[in-house]
């Protein structure tokens, strides 16, 4: 017989307003195994907690039911109260939700009170079957893994490494830096993007605790918070980085010169052995296996001949390593939407002078293909009239993506400013739906661009056609004046939507976390836990979580680093005690639970058990408490119920069902 204490909370008037708490307490006193029932104005307040502790001592209670707000709110708090202020096991506690799911949704006391009584009866029945549970320590590997080497990954890596923990950055491309080195200026301060990102990149390379793995991808992630076993595949670079001095002789001599440079968004060409841009980190070239004649046709080998240190190695192979990490940060960044496939009305990619925002950044960038002069890709002349079209792909549920990509309004204004700055007498038209400038002196920057003469026209461009004289006729509407507008432009820049990079879905399955409907990683809580995920030990930073600009990305990177440091500085962390448990006597070793477990936490093991005074060796299932997350799928697959879930055991739920059904 257990002695249960029922504590009904008024919650000010939140509960007492529409539920007769005294009646609930009276009804609770009649329930089986209830030794005490009482009410309090604010159970979660310090005074309320003391009230609980005193009553437990006074009435020698051994289980507690608190009828108050949702367990998702204060269950953890009440458990702490039991653990710290009483000698009760914190898991002999049940919370009946009589606020969010009762008093707040039923206005009439006549309806709310009986329902509250039912909910309390259910909680009491379950509490009677609760068993003592004990957490245990899981060791934490003091090492962090950052997937993605853009500014988010770099910033997170630097912060974690500065806190004294070794970090590995896994970057898919041949250099870290991501999109920032491609940009020319950054808003709103117009300081040079490369000048503020390349120092951080070299700081990363120089940092003793940061290991950079480029041209690498994460293939498999097993384990759990504090103990992730991560398999990383480092693709062959065909250059031995220890010997290579980065002199660049091979790049100059490589005969294969006609490969479109991804870094310059296809507006210039590169060689098969290449370094994407001068300040690349690591500042050594790699050989592009798909285009190198030696590796595809077996003829050439010029780079090996000219290399002073003999660093070229055509027989290089992928290296696959598996290492253990305590925490993982997803900083995989974004890609621009492929507008050519979606927008036939803008020429579908056939007009060379209709370019994307990133391509314009490369044009206007001093280290770009045109050394910073804004020239038309078609004939290299300087455009006199430029049209910028915003929200291409963004906020377009039919053809593109439904969401706003946040940063294009600002970098659209920046492009307009740069154009008017570099092309004397240049006329710039910006077609927009809204101008969103939600940041510190963002709007001032936009106003400044307006005053410089950028013509903002509210309306979307409906069609771009090319006249035989090369002019791009942009047909649109000025919704404010209601007129149809036609602009003969020399060049059009489309500010396209940010979308998740290719391969994000596969990575989400590898690290076992969820993607939102648009394909970005889902954060644990949009407002309260934006850099965490539902998977313990897995954090998010930057545009991997959703479109954002550089200031927010760096802020999130710092936040994610803080979370990782908060985890790694602990010697060990408490495990979740509400995990599955197998009763050996009932288990026939059928293995139904083994296939079902998403965390492969259950295995069949050979055990010698004492059964009716005989030693018998049998295969039974065994749960690895570290891996088990307590979902309970195995407990239903187990027909005799040998596998039971601690905290939500079969007996407790059955009594809870009967408590309600038979009342």
């Amino acid at each position: 017989m257990s002695r249960i204490g029922v504590f009904v909370c008024h919650c000010g008037t939140n509960i007492a307003g529409t539920v007769d708490v005294e009646a609930v307490a009276d009804a609770a006193r009649q329930m089986p195994n209830v030794a005490y029932a009482g009410t309090n104005k604010y159970m979660c307040s310090a005074q309320g907690q003391d009230y609980i502790v005193d009553i437990i001592k006074e009435h020698n209670l051994d289980r507690v039911v608190i009828a108050s707000c949702s367990p998702r709110m204060h269950e953890r708090l009440f458990r702490k109260v039991l653990a710290e202020k009483t000698d009760l096991n914190p898991y002999l506690l049940e919370v009946a939700n009589i606020r969010e799911q009762c008093s707040w949704v039923h206005k009439d006391k006549q309806i709310g009170t009986p329902k509250a009584i039912n909910l309390v009866a259910m909680a009491v029945a379950k509490a009677d079957c609760d068993t003592q549970l004990f957490t245990h320590e899981i060791p934490v590997t003091k090492r962090a893994l950052i997937i993605g080497g853009g500014i988010a990954g770099i910033q997170a890596a630097l912060d974690i490494a500065d806190a004294g923990f070794p970090v590995t950055i896994v970057e898919r491309k041949t250099t870290i830096g991501g999109k920032m080195p491609m940009l020319d200026k950054t808003f709103p301060t117009l300081d040079c993007s490369a000048c503020i990102s390349t120092p951080k990149m070299s700081e990363c390379e120089a940092h003793p605790l940061i290991e950079i793995k480029t041209l690498s991808e994460v293939e498999k992630v097993e384990g759990y918070i504090g103990n992730f076993d991560v398999t990383i595949r480092e693709k062959a670079k065909y250059i031995d980085y220890d010997k290579c001095t980065g002199c660049g002789m091979c790049e100059t001599k490589c005969p294969q010169k006609k490969i479109p440079s991804e870094f310059n968004q296809g507006m210039s060409t590169r060689t098969a052995v290449y370094k994407p841009f001068p300040q690349a980190v690591p500042s050594k070239p790699t050989i592009d296996a798909d285009h190198c004649r030696m590796l595809t046709e077996g003829k050439c080998g010029v780079c090996a001949k000219v290399c002073p240190t003999g660093a070229i190695d055509y027989q290089d192979v992928d290296r696959v390593t598996t290492e253990r990490y305590g925490a993982i940060v997803l900083a995989t960044g974004y890609e621009l939407i492929d507008w050519t496939r979606l927008y036939g009305e803008y020429g579908g990619g056939r007009y060379a002078d209709v370019i994307s925002g990133l391509q314009f950044e490369r044009l206007v960038n001093a280290s770009g293909p045109t050394e910073g002069h804004i020239l038309r890709p078609s004939d290299g002349t300087e455009p006199k009239t430029m049209v910028i079209v915003k929200c291409v792909g963004s906020r377009d549920p039919h053809k593109g993506v439904p969401y706003c990509s946040r940063a294009c309004c600002m970098y659209g204004a920046k492009h307009a400013h740069q154009f008017m700055d570099k092309v004397p007498g240049g006329k710039c038209f910006v077609f927009y739906m809204d101008v969103r400038t939600p940041g510190k002196n963002y709007d001032e920057f936009y106003m400044n661009t307006l005053h410089e003469g950028a013509r903002y026209i509210r309306g979307r461009i409906s069609k771009i056609t090319r006249r035989s004289d090369g002019k791009l006729v942009c047909l649109g509407e000025d919704t404010l004046s209601g007129n149809v507008v036609e602009v003969d432009a020399d060049m059009v820049v489309l500010e396209t939507a940010m979308v998740p990079p290719e391969g994000a879905k596969k990575l989400a399955q590898t690290v076992n976390t969820q993607l939102g409907p648009e394909g970005f990683f889902t954060e644990a809580h949009p407002k309260l836990r934006p850099v965490e995920t539902n998977t313990g030990g897995l954090y998010l930073a930057g545009t991997a979580q959703g479109p954002k600009d550089i200031p927010d990305t760096v802020a999130q990177a710092g936040a994610a680093a803080a979370k990782v440091i908060g985890l790694l500085c602990k010697q060990s962390i408490e495990s979740n005690p509400m995990v599955a448990h197998v009763d050996d006597s009932k288990c026939s070793g059928c293995g139904a639970c083994v296939d079902i477990c998403p965390y492969s936490a259950v295995t069949l093991v050979e055990k010698t058990l004492r059964e009716n005074s005989r030693k018998v060796t049998r295969t039974v299932a065994q749960v690895n408490e570290g891996l088990c997350q307590g979902c309970g799928a195995c407990t239903v697959a187990c027909r005799p119920g040998a596998s039971d879930l601690l905290g939500f055991n079969d007996e407790g739920i059955m009594r809870e069902v009967e408590a309600y059904a038979t009342r």
Binding site: E100, Q110, I111, N534, C631, A633, I653, E656, E658, A661
Partner: protein, 173 residues
């Protein structure tokens, strides 16, 4: 607990809803946060995942006094444990067809995917299910009518029925 509401005297159904802690329970809390209003016939039983709901709970609830059972979980793909609701979907689809094959009115046992942000959908589901069960009446209404029993009587035993054994057993009950 009288089944009929004291004031109105009309039948108030008893509906048990197994709600998964990460999605539907959060959706229900959100419905409360937004002060939505829905009938009080549904009581929520929290489980960590819809994969934890054992069909034996559902049958026990239906047979010991509940008029309806609702099992809710995350939308496939959103499960906090990544696969719990896929298993729940298969189990519940098979179990629902079996109990309906055995004569249970379909509305009395329903399954819905409701995410943590779909407070409105949770309220609408509760309203809809409680109206359906209210229309069906208590579980006793599901019992077969005299005519149905006569129509079926005698057709149940399979050809190999052992008549004397059956007669002997009859007295024993």
């Amino acid at each position: 607990m009288p089944r009929d509401n004291e004031q109105t005297g009309e039948f108030t159904p008893k509906i048990l809803a197994f709600c998964c802690n990460w999605c539907t329970y959060a959706g229900a809390d959100l419905a409360g946060l937004n002060r939505m209003n829905y009938p009080a016939d549904v009581k929520v039983l929290r489980v960590p995942c819809s994969g934890r709901v054992n069909p034996q709970y559902v049958l026990k609830a239906l047979q010991s006094g509940c008029d309806g059972v609702l099992v809710c979980g995350c939308h496939p793909g959103d499960c906090h444990y990544s696969t719990g609701n896929y298993y729940a979907k298969r189990r519940m689809m098979i179990f629902k067809r079996m109990v309906e094959f055995a004569g249970l009115s379909p509305e009395r046992f329903q399954i819905r995917w409701i995410s943590g942000s779909e407070a409105g959908k949770f309220r609408d589901t509760v309203v809809e299910v409680s109206e359906q069960i209210r229309a069906l009446g208590p579980m006793e209404n599901d019992a077969p009518s005299r005519a149905a029993i006569d129509a079926v009587a005698g057709t149940v035993a399979s050809p190999e029925a052992d008549e004397e054994l059956f007669a002997a057993a009859k007295e024993a009950i």
